[in-house]
Symmetry: C2
Subunit: 392 residues, 2 copies
């Protein structure tokens, strides 16, 4: 058995990793807007990117790099470098040619407004402020924020049975998961585990399914969505199950942080589907609930409107029957296979559940063994306010 211990340090916990955020003048009033992550040793890298057909320039550039071992990531907020065509990729090359000399095969990552050329000069000047001896994960986490209301980082020390250990940590940005179809998420994970590249990619692909993909819709992502894992191997230690579990903990935590930070969100709701025809149908139903505007606004109004839940499942396209469905708010069953248990008293009880910051809406479809958990938040006035004025 292994032990996974929460630790401070974010992306800088792992041996040989450094990171920090700087102000390059992209955001106003001295706010941090650029960050680097640097490893003293070159790294194996695994990545998952958006499936958006308009993938941004940094993703195109990464894909053109081939099978190399990078040790440096430059990240900027405020500008996504998306819809910028070949010029956008050329801009990245020029920026990266100005990296500190320690950088090998550097990677660039961007988030912000779509459709505006990268402010190259500001970024190149900003890179001059990078201090590669800094282990300041928190400032890097702050620098990559856009509409996020708080910075997101996490780290764990993983101790194996024989007492040997490795570390894993991450920073991420992402809010606005109210509309997962569009909210850009970036996540940078660093580890000193001695993991093989292809195995790391395999594990990452698996873990994404139940973490970031549980708050987002398959194949329906922003132009810039990126998860990057850098492994410098400096611990000399690796064990697949321990690594996978630790990676899950990192990504699950950050996924829920993103939901919790949904623009204007006040509640974190788990949508638990069981009894679906198969896991895929459970996933479709769970995401239909977490994406429904009418469910979200009912959450915000703390209105236990279970009819909207049933209707959303009915509209999602999955196999479902009125006489087989069960709907519960936490452990309060309001509809049980044809029987409406929702009376005035139950309504009061459910309304109390909905006043909590976290609760679970469960639907048993009563058909098969398929299950899935999705995570979502409510939609309130703040969401409209933030997104109506985003570019200004």
């Amino acid at each position: 058995m292994h032990n996974i211990v929460y630790s401070q340090g974010g992306v800088c916990l792992s041996d040989g990793f450094f990171a920090s955020g700087v102000h390059a003048g992209l955001k106003k009033e001295g706010a941090l807007d650029m960050a680097f992550i640097y490893s003293v040793s070159q790294c194996e890298v695994a990545a998952v990117f958006t499936t958006n057909k308009m993938a941004a320039a940094p993703i195109k550039h990464f894909r053109s790099m081939g099978d190399v071992k990078p040790n440096f990531i430059v990240i900027n907020s405020k500008n996504a470098n998306a819809m910028t065509g070949i010029a956008g990729v050329e801009d990245i090359k020029e920026v990266l040619s100005n990296c500190p000399q320690e950088a090998k095969n550097p990677i660039m990552s961007s988030t912000g407004v779509i459709g505006v050329r990268l402010p190259k000069q500001k970024i190149i000047e900003g890179m001059k402020l990078f201090d590669l001896t800094k282990k300041d994960s928190s400032s890097a986490a702050k620098a990559i924020m856009t509409t996020d209301s708080f910075a997101k980082e996490i780290a764990f020390k993983v101790v194996l049975n024989d007492g040997s250990s490795f570390n894993i940590g991450a920073i991420a940005k992402g809010a606005g998961m109210i509309d997962p179809a569009m909210a850009t998420m970036l996540c940078f994970i660093t580890t000193d585990a001695k993991v093989d590249k292809s195995e790391m990619q395999e594990v990452l692909d698996e873990v994404v399914k139940t973490t970031f993909n549980a708050i987002s819709v398959d194949g329906d992502t922003s132009t810039n969505d990126t998860v990057l894992v850098l492994a410098n191997g400096r611990s000399g230690v690796y064990e697949r199950e321990a690594f996978k579990e630790a990676l899950f903990k990192v990504m699950h935590f950050l996924a829920l942080e993103m939901v919790r930070d949904g623009e204007g969100a006040t509640k974190l709701v788990t949508y638990k589907i069981t009894g679906a025809k198969d896991d895929r149908e459970a996933e479709i139903a769970a995401k239909a609930l977490s994406d429904s505007l009418l469910v979200k606004t009912a959450l915000f109004g703390e209105d236990p409107n279970w009819g909207r839940i049933a209707s959303t499942i009915g509209a999602s396209g999955v196999e479902a029957y009125e006489e087989k469905l069960k709907v519960s708010f936490d452990n309060l069953c309001v509809y049980d296979r044809g029987e409406i248990l929702f009376d005035a008293e139950m309504e009061k009880k459910c309304a109390i559940v909905m006043q909590h910051q976290k609760f679970t809406i469960s639907c048993d479809l009563g058909i098969g063994e398929g299950s899935f958990k999705a995570y979502g938040c409510d939609l309130g006035h703040e969401y409209v306010k933030i997104n109506a004025d985003y570019r200004t």
Copy 2:
């Protein structure tokens, strides 16, 4: 050639049709909450219903009626009679057994809260207030409203080349098309055209595609969505093309009225996709735009955020390329196959377009011949307010 002339009268314009709304005590403060539509002659009927797996009791009841000729529709608002199982259908039978004696094969239709049994006694009492000699389409249109902010009706007189004519008219309810996946729409169309039942169904199926389905997502509808056409044949006149064109005019008008009345909406936007691989892909892309929360909130903020438009198309799953796409606000092209034409001056011009109550966002995908127009509205604070408190 034929001539289609706008007329007053709604569902009562056609010869032999009567309608009116009454207050049965379902809504508060004397508001109209029940309506009837009655034809002195029995009618051919065509219908399109929701594809929601949780189709409401009135739809199940209609489907069980078989091939009959009705002349009477009872409609109530405030209660959807959905998720009410066999009991919900039994409730309808009991209600309809209390219809005025003139009613033959009566149909019931409901809209309102899901998951609450029909208040049968109030409805049966309400039916006693029906006056079958009334031609008051407007009050019927009012009675079927839920969150609608205005009543919706339309009628046309169709004059054929030889001077003969028939009439067609309708009432409808539906707002909240901001989330087409869930907003209930009802539409009742009456005509005195002498149309064959199967041909009427065929024409209706065709016309639905470019009207109500252009404001809604295929297969992704509320529990109660209904379009019913009653034809009593009393004009003795029919001509297929004229009938189809008139039916399109009726349904197109009402579909746009629903969008215009989107809960809290302030703008009516046409999303015009051209150059898609095929019409189906154009439809997917157009609806992705009209459904996108981030596009909707940008509209509300009058922010010409064309990057969100490009990203939404990229995320929609249709074939699309950054270097082939064109994006325009009305006739202002902001992005032309790789070239960003959006500068400070263009931004000002686009912002002026977006201040209009109606405008068009066009995207040419530059691939094939596929095209589709979808219609949508913006999302503002009012939407959240209305839907957070819907049941209360």
